[in-house]
Each structure stands twice: as C-alpha cells, then as structure tokens.
C-alpha cells in the first residue's frame, strides 16, 4: 500500500537515501540505502564499520520511541562520516541499525584511506568499541543482498 508523506517534522532523512523500517515482535530495524545507481558510480570496494550501542531502552520505554532516538544519533553520524570521507570520493551507501548495533557500509576506491580516516575519528559516546574491516563483496552486491 503506497502513501505519500512529507519528511517527518522531528527528523529529516538525508537526501538521496531510501528508507526501510522493519517492525515485528520485539524487533525493530531501520536502514538507509543510497540509490542503487549512485552506489555503482562511487566505487567497487566496501568498508564496514560496526558500532555496538551503549545506550539502552529505559524501564517501560516504548521500543519505537527508543529506536527513533537511535535513528537520530545514527543519521547525525552518517552526515559526519560523509563529510569526513568526501575528499576520498567515498560515501556511506548503507546504514543498518537495530537496538543492539549500528552498521555503516562505505563505498570507495580507496579502502585503506577510508579506514585510516575512520580510525582517526573520536568514537561518539553512544557507542562501544567499534570494529572496522574491508568487505569481500562489492557495494552493489551487498546492497542487493540486504534488500533480499
């Protein structure tokens, strides 16, 4: 069922990204996906950044309210990341979060330079120790696999 809506007042989804919000029993996940054509034009390599959350749902807090907060933090970090790697012609093409962890995938032709940049950035307080690695697949395949 299709419906149109202006981007919500409380948050703006970044331009050029599609959104996917999944809801099931005690399960929520949120993803931002860069448009498929844009992904192809950036690069063939993919870097993965995994950030476990260290903020948790308060007692009696609605899961949807909690997740909306996580989305806000994740989008703020997405903007920051894109700014920092812009000069390397790289971009975040997939953001995927649930209540346990937040994953960024970056498309690039210079994975090592991107990793160095990431390592030089301070980790935001809302996350625990991050893990960074190069993916074995290319961004287009990874994006396709994610949609399923």
């Amino acid at each position: 069922m299709e419906f149109t809506a202006n981007t919500p007042i409380s948050r703006s989804f970044p331009d050029g990204y599609e959104t996917l919000y999944r809801v099931s029993y005690n399960y929520r996940s949120f993803a931002l996906l860069l448009d498929a054509l844009a992904v192809k034009s950036i690069g063939n390599k993919s870097v993965e950044l995994v950030l476990p959350w260290c903020i948790y749902r308060s007692e009696g807090e609605e899961i949807d309210i909690h997740v909306l907060r996580l989305i806000d933090y994740a989008i703020a970090l997405l903007h920051e990341l894109n700014e920092k790697i812009n000069h390397l012609q790289s971009k975040v093409y997939l953001l995927d979060l649930d209540i346990n962890r937040c994953v960024f995938r970056i498309a690039t032709e210079q994975p090592q330079a991107v990793i160095t940049t990431l390592q030089s950035m301070p980790c935001p307080e809302v996350f625990n120790l991050p893990q960074i690695k190069t993916d074995t697949s290319n961004p287009t395949d990874i994006r396709q696999q994610f949609i399923g």
């Binding site: 069922m1 299709e2 959104t19």
Partner: protein, 281 residues
C-alpha cells in the same frame, strides 16, 4: 381456522387480499430474490473490507513516521487487525453459503449447482491465495491475529524533493503461524517464509471474482423472473389503492382477526427499484 392472505402496508391502513396460490408465488419469489441479493451483498462486504484494510494500513505506515503515543499506535494496529479479521470472516461467510443461495434460486437444477461446485474446487486447486485465505479462517478465528510484521519503505518522490513516497507491506510469517496443529498442514508446507497481505488479497479476489461471476450468471434468469412477478403484484397494488408500493409486506393470517399473523415477509425491498440490488457490485 381460516387462512387469509394479503399484501399490506405497515399500520394496516391499506390492504389487498390475495389467493393462496398468489401468496405461494410471492413467497417463492421472495425466497429466490433474498438469496440472489445475499450473494451480491456478501461479495460487496468483502470488497468493502478490503478498502478498510487499505486505509488502516496506510495509517499504520504513517504512524511509524511520526511520534505517536503507544496507545495511538496500538489503536491503529488494532484497526488493521480487526479489518483483516473481518475480511477473512466475510470471505468464509460468502464461500460457505454460496451453494445454498444458488440452490434456493434454482431448486430443481442440479447441473448448474454442480458447475458452481466444480468452479470452487478448481479455484482451490489452482490458487495458493485461495487455499491460504481459506486456511486463515481457522487460524484467525482461534488466535485472533493475522499480521505478524510490517516493512515501511520510503523512496524519494520523482517530482518533489521534499516529499517521499512510502510503501507499507504487511506480512504473515510462517515461523509465527506455528506448526501443523496451528495451521492447515498442507498449506503451511507450501507457503513461502512470508506472505505479503495485499498481494495475497488481490490474488484471492481474482479467484473469488470468477466464482462470483458464475454464481450471478447462473441465478440471473431466476432473479429476473422473480422480479417480474413481484413488479406485477406491486403494480396491481398501486393501481387498486392509488398509493406507492413502499415498504409492503405479504401476510398470512389465521382466524377472524387480521392480527393473528402466521407468516409475514417484506417484498418492496426486493423490487428492482430498490437500490440495494444492482448489477455492478
């Protein structure tokens, strides 16, 4: 005890006597028309329930984009669930009684009724959606739920960069249905990991539409004849009494007093002029 038959309007102000044979003709016509109308009313119920599902799903999708209270969102979820439940129940009410309605219109005709039976069997065999909706009836009437998960996805609108076009998909998931004791085993086995609701309903409506069209075709002649008969009596009533034939009843009374009513049924609601029945469902 003497029987008396008549057509009358409420309040007994105006009354037209009938012979017993005329009473029986009218009773037969009413039986056929009420069955023919029931087929159409119940098909419309299903279609209306579909529209209600669509609206509540859109509201649900929108609710995940805005900050509502938990009660507000729960209300919307309840509405989706109620609408799906109503759809499935109304679909079962339709299919379970369809043959009976057709038989009431054509009491002597086995061949036509068998045609309908055959069509329903074919749809069950050929259409997964038909089998699945049929199985959902037992699941929903026992467990009270239907949708297990939703995806709300958004793309940028092609013409307006501020607007996004969203899509909500609602899923029934095999893992949450349980095992063969919770859901019809043969259908559970053939179903994919998840079934999207609107796709399912659209495919089901195609099958059901074929069944409905056949039922209408089979009963059209009997319906027309019954309406002609009804119209004749209503015309005579108007001619004799000079009043419009609105809201008339056929009454079989016993004994001296016309108040001792043995049987009574309405007829104006089955006339072709009554807007409840038309050829476009």
């Amino acid at each position: 005890m003497d029987s008396a038959y008549c057509i009358q309007s409420p309040g007994n102000n105006v009354l037209m006597p009938l012979e017993e044979e005329q009473f029986r003709e009218l009773k037969r016509a009413k039986k056929r028309l009420s069955s023919a109308y029931a087929i159409r009313h119940k098909f419309r119920l299903i279609k209306t329930n579909y529209a209600l599902i669509a609206n509540s799903l859109k509201s649900l999708g929108y609710s995940y984009l805005t900050e509502l209270t938990s009660e507000q969102r729960q209300d919307i979820k309840n509405q989706v669930n109620a609408n799906v439940s109503n759809y499935i129940l109304s679909a079962r009410t339709f299919t379970a009684q369809l043959k009976r309605h057709v038989q009431a219109c054509l009491p002597q005709d086995r061949v036509e009724v068998n045609r309908l039976t055959r069509r329903m069997e074919i749809e069950y065999q050929r259409s997964f959606a038909y089998r699945f909706i049929d199985s959902l009836y037992d699941y929903i009437s026992y467990y009270g739920i239907s949708v297990h998960s939703v995806d709300v996805s958004g793309k940028l609108s092609l013409n307006n960069t501020d607007e996004r076009v969203y899509e909500i998909k609602a899923y029934i998931e095999r893992a949450y249905l349980g095992g063969p004791t919770d859901f019809r085993a043969s259908v559970l086995k053939e179903m994919p990991a998840r079934v999207e609701l609107i796709e399912l309903l659209d495919a089901y409506m195609e099958s059901l539409g074929r069944i409905y069209d056949l039922a209408c075709k089979i009963t059209d002649e009997a319906t027309e004849q019954s309406q002609l008969l009804l119209r004749e009596f209503l015309n005579v009533f108007e001619g004799v009494n000079g009043t419009r034939a609105d809201n008339l009843f056929v009454v079989h009374s016993i004994g001296d007093s016309p108040d001792k009513i043995y049987d009574s049924f309405p007829i104006s609601m089955y006339s072709a002029q009554a807007e409840v029945y038309d050829n476009n469902p």
